[in-house]
């Protein structure tokens, strides 16, 4: 099973159905693999701390949707936590702003190692349409090390789950 997960993670997003939010079977397949990976690597519980480092709030809407009863990420063992102190993963949306840089670094430092950082959205990956300027520093990796990227503007709930799977499967 681990071999399969590794192969999936290395391959990344190649299949269409995972991107279709209407395709329930796609979600179920991602969910099944997620649950398996989380059970094996995180004793069945993956705690995620979400950090908005400067996003337009679009990505946050979709991260909320991952928690809605239709996607219901908790059934896979994913839990969004209020504190970075007991988080396994930081789910960071961007671009990182000059005014959030220090807060993001502090949140990163407050998260115990080993930790996984996932950059969410086009802006979290490379700054998106905001680019890089005096106020927007660009992608999350400009400030803290990033393990996995989930592009999209914003990425759909299915894409978010698939990205989290890539992060925990590696």
């Amino acid at each position: 099973m681990i071999r399969i997960l590794r192969q999936i993670a290395r391959t990344g997003v190649v299949t269409e159905p995972h991107h279709k939010p209407d395709d329930d079977s796609g979600i179920i397949e991602i969910g099944r693999l997620l649950e398996e990976a989380i059970r094996k690597r995180f004793r069945g519980s993956l705690a995620i701390r979400q950090v908005d480092a400067g996003s337009c709030n679009g990505c946050e809407l979709e991260i909320h949707a991952v928690n809605n009863p239709i996607y219901n990420c908790e059934r896979f063992g994913i839990h969004f936590t209020a504190s970075p102190r007991f988080a396994d993963m930081l789910l960071v949306t961007g671009p990182v702003t000059h005014n959030m840089e220090i807060a993001l670094k502090r949140t990163y430092e407050a998260t115990p190692s080993p930790k996984i950082v996932v950059a969410v959205g086009d802006c979290g990956c490379n700054g998106g349409i905001f680019g890089e300027n005096y106020a927007s520093l660009g992608g999350i990796s400009k400030v803290i090390p990033v393990d996995v990227r989930i592009p999209g503007c914003p990425p759909t709930p299915a894409m978010l789950l698939e990205g989290i799977l890539r992060a925990v499967g590696e």
């Binding site: 337009c56 679009g58 928690n67 005096y134 520093l137 914003p154």
Partner: protein, 528 residues
């Protein structure tokens, strides 16, 4: 009573000092130039005529060989009045209007911080958006500012308003909050459970959007406008496009307007559904959150199926729209609305009949009508506090101007509490469902976009659009080569955040999340 009330008020008070533009576009907008010394007199004349301040901003006009410009936009009913004054480049000082209009004190702190144009007589000159660790001489909106360079950090401390005395303690919250929300910092001074004072400090998600507009083409500007506040992508894109169309005289096809109206109402329903659920959740009634999230998801999936994007980003473009609907799409949407309406009414009934929920939301976080007026509140916040404002009525784009066809019923409540803000949303969801049915039934055939001509140098464009939070204002100015010289975006949050600060004192600390959620203002749209 004069029909052109604000214009006449300023013209009577200032006499020949106020020079009015002859052409108004849109027709409800009046503009005048006044000497900078008279900027404050114009504000007082407007105040006397019961006008409200909608926005205040500055421009750097060095590209035209001038200094700076200072602008104030006032509103009374359907009429907008822009008062502008020219300021010299070497000494850009203007009389502050903060003592006449309360929200001006935030606008002017921002003008001082970002443009380095000095409001004379502003009582509070602490930086806003700009943080204390920026170099004092960094004024990003000036043309001479190098936007590509990273800002060095300096020492500096923000001075908070302080309540002192025996037993008074302070709670700092944020910028990284406990939930999945945007960053901002709130500071409470409390005595026991009661909040004495709340001060918000925003600016954490300042991305340099207004400066970024100046580097983009007019077409790309619409994409950026759609990301000023991700939850309001349709309304912001309409705002930007309408301002651009006003300045170029471009008229999108009739069908494009109707499609825009439909996107706008779908965005309103989706956000209101999410908000009502989240407000109930903050009163520990999680059942409602999941129920409403389910309905919202239904709508978002339909958006994706019909228009190719769950939030309809980039579906509004300059000159029209980029998504259409066919007959099968229409019937699918009608069926969806029937189902939505049925489910929604069941939930409203539960909301109405739940006594423990009522206990939390009634008389909590009251923003009294006089205060709402004083802070010049807009949108759902204003309508829950007795102000009858809605751009769909007072400054409509087609087909909302067809009052005989749409007959929009705007809810206004006077209690100003959390419950009122929920009831406004409930009422508006019903209205939006009804409006979409009318739009689907009468949608004209034809093209969905036209080419927008290149703006003429120095031209300006203005628009006001009722997003789901409230009135969004865009003001565009073309530079000497027809490029974007300035794009001013005013999200409803710019004024409504003041309302949150005003409604908290006297409430208990645990009710803050509930009050905050009932406002649900945008951080990104405010910080820009």
């Amino acid at each position: 009573m004069s029909r052109i009330r604000l214009r006449d008020a300023v013209a009577t008070t200032l006499g020949p000092d106020a020079v009015f533009d002859e052409i108004a576009s849109p027709s409800t907008l009046y503009s005048c130039t006044v000497p900078k010394e008279k900027f404050g007199d114009a504000a007082r004349a407007v105040k006397k005529a019961y006008g409200l301040l909608a926005a205040e901003w500055a421009t750097d006009e060095t590209a035209f060989g001038r200094g700076f410009g200072i602008f104030a936009c006032y509103r009374w009913g359907a009429q907008y009045l822009i008062v502008r004054a020219e300021l010299p480049a070497d000494n850009p000082v203007f009389p502050s209007i903060a003592k006449t209009f309360v929200p001006a004190y935030r606008f002017e702190r921002r003008i001082l911080s970002m443009m380095g144009v000095v409001p004379d007589g502003l009582p509070d000159t602490r930086p806003w958006i700009k943080f204390e660790d920026w170099p004092a001489n960094a004024f990003p909106l000036r043309k001479s500012f190098d936007a590509s360079a990273r800002l060095p950090r300096t020492d500096g401390k923000y001075k908070w308003a302080r309540a002192e005395g025996e037993g008074v303690y302070e709670i700092p919250v944020g910028p990284v909050h406990a939930g999945i929300i945007e960053p901002g910092h709130f500071r409470f001074q409390a005595l026991g459970e009661d909040v004495i004072n709340l001060e918000a400090r925003l600016g954490y998600v300042h991305k340099g959007i207004e400066k970024r507009f100046e580097q983009l083409s007019w077409a790309d500007g619409a994409r950026l406008a759609g990301r000023v506040s991700g939850d309001t992508t349709v309304a912001h894109a309409i705002g930007y496009c309408a301002a651009l169309e006003a300045m170029t005289g471009c008229l999108p096809p009739e069908r494009a307007y109707w499609l825009r109206a439909m996107f706008l109402e779908r965005e309103r329903i989706a956000n209101h559904l999410g908000d009502i659920g989240a407000i109930c959740n903050d009163a520990a009634f999680a059942f409602m959150l999941y129920q409403f999230m389910r309905l919202k998801e239904m709508l978002l999936r339909a958006n994706h199926r019909l228009f190719g994007h769950r939030f309809m980003m980039d579906r509004v473009i300059p000159g029209g729209v980029a998504a259409n609907i066919d007959e099968s799409g229409k019937s699918a949407m009608l069926a969806e609305l029937d189902e939505l309406s049925k489910q929604f009414e069941k939930l409203v009934k539960i909301y109405d009949e739940n006594a423990s929920l009522e206990d939390r939301v009634r008389d909590t976080g009251i923003l009294k009508p006089d205060k709402a007026r004083e802070i010049c509140a807009v949108g759902i916040v204003a309508r829950a506090s007795g102000l009858n404002l809605d751009c769909r009525i007072f400054n409509p784009f087609p087909p909302f101007d067809r009052h005989d066809l749409i007959e929009l019923d705007v809810p206004v409540y006077i209690s100003g509490d959390v419950n009122a803000r929920v009831l406004v949303r409930i009422h508006e969801i019903r209205e939006s469902i009804r409006v979409i049915r009318i739009l689907l039934a009468g949608m004209p055939d034809g093209d969905i976009s036209v080419t927008v001509p290149q703006p003429m140098p120095g031209n300006t464009g203005f628009s006001a659009v009722e997003g789901w939070r409230g009135e969004i204002i865009y003001w565009l100015q073309a530079g000497p080569n027809g490029e974007i010289n300035r794009c001013m975006a005013r999200d409803p949050s710019d004024v409504n955040w003041l309302g949150l600060e005003q409604c908290i004192p006297g409430n208990i600390v645990p009710d803050f999340p509930l009050c905050n959620k009932s406002f649900n203002q945008s951080y990104s749209g405010h910080d820009l």
